[in-house]
C-alpha cells in the first residue's frame, strides 16, 4: 500500500496531568513520526487540555496513532483532520532594530501590507507580531530578512475543526452513568 503522505492536524483532549506530554510524544517517537508542531492549552472545557499537533503521515498511520492516543487512560478523545477540515493559523514574532524603521522606509510598507502588528517599540528595537498561514509568515520573514532580523520565533499551528467535537457530551455522559 503506497499511500500519500499528507499534513494532518491531530487534536487530543486530555486530563490536565503531568507526564501526559511524555506519553504522547513517546507514541510518535516509537513510530519515527516527526512532529512538525505541537501546541497545548486549556480547551473550551474547564480542566480539560487540548493538544494540537501537526504531522506529515499517511491516513492509515493517522488512524492507527489515534487508536494509540485514545488507549491512554488520561486521553479523553483524539481526532485527526485534513487541512480542509480545519481552520488554522500560526503566529510569529520578529525583533528588529528600531533604527531600520527610519532608515528603510520600505519596512513600513511591508508591515502595513502584511497585516503585521507592532507590539512594542523602544529606542533599540521594535517587535512585530503576525498571525496567518505559513506561506504569509514565510514571505514576511523573507521580506524582512533583507534588512536584518534580530530574533524570529514562530509558534505551532492552532486549529479549530469545522465539525463538532462531542467532548462535553462525553463528559456529561460519564457523570450520569
Amino acid at each position: 500500500m503506497n499511500e500519500d503522505i499528507k499534513t494532518f492536524t491531530i487534536s487530543i483532549y486530555t486530563e490536565n496531568n503531568i507526564g501526559l506530554l511524555n506519553r504522547i510524544s513517546a507514541i510518535f517517537q516509537r513510530r519515527h513520526i516527526n512532529i512538525e508542531s505541537l501546541t497545548t492549552s486549556q480547551s473550551e472545557i474547564e480542566g480539560v487540555n487540548r493538544f494540537v499537533i501537526v504531522v506529515n503521515i499517511t491516513e492509515s498511520q493517522a488512524r492507527k496513532i489515534i487508536g494509540q492516543f485514545e488507549k491512554q487512560v488520561e486521553v479523553i478523545r483524539a481526532y485527526y483532520h485534513k487541512d480542509e477540515d480545519t481552520i488554522y493559523t500560526e503566529s510569529c514574532m520578529f525583533k528588529i532594530k528600531s533604527a531600520l524603521l527610519f532608515e528603510e522606509p520600505q519596512i513600513q510598507n511591508i508591515i502595513k501590507e502584511s497585516n503585521a502588528r507592532i507590539v512594542t517599540v523602544n529606542k533599540e528595537f521594535f517587535v512585530l507580531e503576525k498571525s496567518g498561514r505559513r506561506n504569509e509568515i514565510e514571505s514576511l520573514r523573507r521580506d524582512l530578512n533583507v534588512f536584518g532580523i534580530m530574533q524570529f520565533v514562530r509558534a505551532g499551528r492552532i486549529a479549530v475543526t469545522k465539525d463538532e467535537m462531542k467532548i462535553t457530551e462525553m463528559l456529561l455522559a460519564f457523570n450520569n452513568q
Binding site: T14, G47, K64, E74, F174, Q177
Partner: protein
C-alpha cells in the same frame, strides 16, 4: 462545565483515621484484596516495609532475590489467578530493575501494580542518592503511572491503579511514592475506584457487527477460529467452547491463548505461529472466514502480512479498539468484552459441522506427526529430546499441571506438547520473550494456586538469568517443580545460526555449572538425567514430591524445533524440516 474525573464507592461517614502514608499503602493493598506481594526493600521504601512488618498476619511479603524476579513472580501470580499481581521496590536501581517485568506485563496484558519508593519530594530533580525518573522511564511500558508526593493522594491513586490494572485490557501500572508522602500523616479513608471519565475500559458492543459476524460465520464453508489470551482474560472459555461445538469450527490458538480450550478437544487444531502446528498455519491461507478472538495478529503469528489469509473474510473480536486494523485489515470488527460478545454471537449461529474441512486439519496433522511429532515425543535416536520430557510430564500430571515456560526452544516444545485440561495453565512470556521469566513466574503461580501442580520448563540459558530465585523458593517453601532442559546451548539462537548463518555458532555455546549442586546448595532436592531409561522414573519422582524439586535433563545438543515459519515468510511456507 465541571464534571467528576473519577467515580468511587460510597463515602463512609466519620470513618477517617489519622495514619501515615506508608500505613495507608498497606491498608489500600489489603482493601484491594492483596494477600501476597513480591518485592525488595531499600532506603526509599523502608517506611512501607516497616508497616508490612506490622501487618504481616494480613499480607504476606515475599522477598525475591532480585526486583526483576518480583515482577515476574507477580506476573505468574496474576496469570494463574486472574488477580492483580503486586511488586514493590525501592527507588533508583530497585525501580529500574522492575522495568523488564513491567514491559513484559505490558505486552502480554498482565494486570500488575508496582509500587516504588522515591526520594523526598524536595530532592526531586537534584540527582539525589538513588533518585531516578522512574515515572519517565516506565511511561512507554505502563498502562498508567503516577508519582505521589503527598500522603493524602495515596488512597485515590492506589484505587485508580488497581482499577486501571485490572479493567478493560489489563496491564501494568507503576506508582512512585516519595518518602515524605510515606512518612507524613493524613486522614485516611479508602474508597474503591469504579470509573475514570477519560477512560473507557470496555467499548460498547455493536449488535449490528455481532450480526454481521454471525452472517459471515453461518455462510462459511471453511471457517477457522484463532483465539488468543483475550478469551482467558475475558473469562470466555465456556462461550468459546459453545461456539466451537455448535458450529463445528476448527479452533487454533496463539501461544498466550493456550489452555482456554483443552488440548484434547476434538476441534482444537493446535497452535498458530512461527513454531505452531502445520495444519492451522497452512490452512490459515485456505479458510474462507477467519475468526480472530482476543488476539492481536502479532508478527510471530502472521508471518509475512502481505500473504496472510488474503483469501479470507476477517472477523476480529477485541476489547482494544487500537488493535482493529492495526496489522490485518478486518471485514467485521466486534469490539467489547470477549465473554459478552461471544455470548451475544452464540444464539445467532446455526448448528453445523464442517467435517471435510476438519478432515483437512487431520490430514495435515498426520503429515506433521510422521515428519516431526513422532520423532519429538517418541524418539528412536540415542539422545534425549525435549519433546519426550514433556510427554512424561503429561503422563505424570495427567494434563492438569500449570506449565510455566521460559524463552527458547524448550518454550516452543512446552507449548506444542504440553497437555492442558485447565484454563490459565500456560504461563509464558509471549510478546516480549523474556528469558529469565519462568523461575520467578512459577513461584508466583504456585503461591497463588498452591493446590495446583506447577512445573517450570526452562533452558540452561534462561535459567541462569534468574537462578538466584532458588533462594526465594527455598525460603518460601514454594513447591515448584523445576525442569531444566540442558542442551548446553542458547538453543533457539543456535538453531537460527544453523539455519540462517551457516552454522557460525557465535557465542551460543554454554559451559554450564553443576546445576544439581547449585539446587542442592539451596536445599532443593535435585536429580540429573542423561539417559532415556532414567527419564520416566525421574519425572515420576519429581511430580510425586511434596516439596520443590529440581530436574536437569541433558538433551540432544543440536536438535531443532520444527515446524518453522522462517521470519518474514508466509504461513503457507511453513517448513517441516
Amino acid at each position: 462545565m465541571n464534571t467528576e474525573t473519577i467515580k468511587k464507592t460510597q463515602e463512609v461517614a466519620d470513618k477517617t483515621e489519622r495514619i501515615t502514608g506508608s500505613e495507608a499503602i498497606i491498608r489500600c493493598l489489603i482493601a484491594e484484596g492483596v494477600d501476597i506481594l513480591y518485592g525488595y526493600p531499600g532506603g526509599a521504601i523502608m517506611p512501607v516495609y516497616d508497616e508490612l512488618y506490622k501487618y504481616q498476619d494480613k499480607i504476606h511479603h515475599v522477598l525475591t532475590r532480585h526486583e526483576q524476579g518480583a515482577t515476574h513472580a507477580a506476573q505468574g501470580y496474576a496469570r494463574i489467578s486472574g488477580k492483580v499481581g503486586v511488586a514493590m521496590a525501592t527507588s533508583g536501581p530497585g525501580a529500574t530493575n522492575l522495568i523488564t517485568g513491567i514491559a513484559d506485563a505490558q505486552i502480554d496484558s498482565t494486570p500488575m501494580v508496582c509500587i516504588t519508593g522515591q526520594v523526598f519530594s524536595n530532592l526531586l530533580g537534584s540527582d539525589a542518592f538513588q533518585e531516578t525518573d522512574i515515572v519517565g522511564i516506565s511511561t512507554p511500558v505502563t498502562k498508567w503511572n503516577h508519582q505521589v508526593t503527598k500522603a493524602s493522594e495515596i488512597p485515590e491513586v492506589i484505587a485508580k491503579a488497581f482499577y486501571i490494572a485490572r479493567s478493560g485490557r489489563p496491564g501494568p501500572v507503576l506508582i512512585d511514592i516519595t518518602k515524605d508522602a510515606q512518612v507524613s500523616e493524613f486522614d485516611f479513608q479508602y474508597r474503591k475506584c469504579t470509573g475514570i471519565r477519560s477512560y473507557v475500559p470496555v467499548p460498547k458492543t455493536n449488535p449490528e457487527s455481532v450480526k454481521a459476524a454471525a452472517d459471515l460465520i453461518n455462510a462459511a464453508k471453511k471457517p477457522l477460529i484463532v483465539w488468543g489470551q483475550g478469551v482467558i482474560l475475558g473469562k470466555a472459555e465456556n462461550e468459546l467452547k459453545a461456539i466451537v461445538e455448535k458450529v463445528g469450527i476448527p479452533a487454533a490458538w496463539t501461544i498466550l491463548g493456550a489452555s482456554a480450550l483443552p488440548t484434547t478437544h476434538p476441534l482444537n487444531v493446535g497452535m498458530v505461529g512461527m513454531h505452531g502446528n502445520y495444519a492451522p498455519n497452512k490452512l490459515t491461507n485456505e479458510c474462507d472466514v477467519l475468526i480472530a478472538i482476543g488476539m492481536r495478529f502479532d508478527d510471530r503469528v502472521t508471518g509475512k502480512l502481505d500473504t496472510y489469509a488474503k483469501q479470507a473474510k476477517i472477523i476480529h473480536f477485541d476489547i482494544d479498539p487500537a488493535e482493529i486494523d492495526k496489522n490485518v485489515k478486518t471485514d467485521v470488527a466486534v469490539l467489547g468484552d470477549s465473554k459478552d460478545s461471544l455470548a451475544k454471537l452464540l444464539p445467532l449461529l446455526n448448528e453445523k459441522s464442517h467435517d471435510s474441512w476438519l478432515q483437512e486439519f487431520k490430514d495435515l496433522y498426520k503429515i506433521e506427526f510422521e515428519k516431526v511429532i513422532k520423532n519429538d515425543i517418541s524418539p528412536t535416536k540415542e539422545g534425549l529430546t525435549m519433546g519426550e520430557v514433556l510427554k512424561q510430564i503429561n503422563i505424570e500430571t495427567k494434563g492438569n499441571a500449570a506449565i510455566v515456560s521460559d524463552v527458547g526452544q524448550h518454550q516452543m516444545i512446552a507449548c506444542r506438547y504440553a497437555d492442558f485440561n485447565i484454563t490459565k495453565s500456560n504461563i509464558t512470556s509471549g510478546g516480549l520473550g523474556t528469558m529469565g521469566f519462568a523461575l520467578p513466574a512459577a513461584i508466583g503461580a504456585k503461591m497463588a494456586a498452591p493446590e495446583r501442580e506447577v512445573v517450570a520448563i526452562i533452558g540452561d540459558g534462561g535459567y541462569q538469568m534468574t537462578i538466584q530465585e532458588l533462594g526465594t523458593i527455598f525460603q518460601q517453601k514454594a513447591a515448584v517443580k523445576i525442569v531444566v532442559l540442558n542442551n548446553e546451548f542458547l538453543g533457539m539462537v543456535r538453531q537460527w545460526q544453523q539455519l540462517f548463518f551457516d552454522k557460525r555458532y557465535a557465542s551460543t555455546e554454554m559451559t554450564n555449572p553443576n546445576f544439581v549442586a547449585i539446587a542442592e546448595g539451596y536445599y532443593i532436592k535435585a536429580r540429573k538425567v542423561t539417559k532415556r531409561e532414567e527419564l520416566a522414573d525421574a519425572v515420576k519422582e519429581m511430580i510425586a514430591s511434596k516439596d520443590s524439586y529440581f530436574l536437569e535433563v541433558c538433551v540432544e545438543k543440536e536438535d531443532n524445533v520444527f515446524p518453522m515459519i522462517p521470519a518474514g515468510a508466509s504461513v503457507s511456507d511453513i517448513r517441516l524440516s
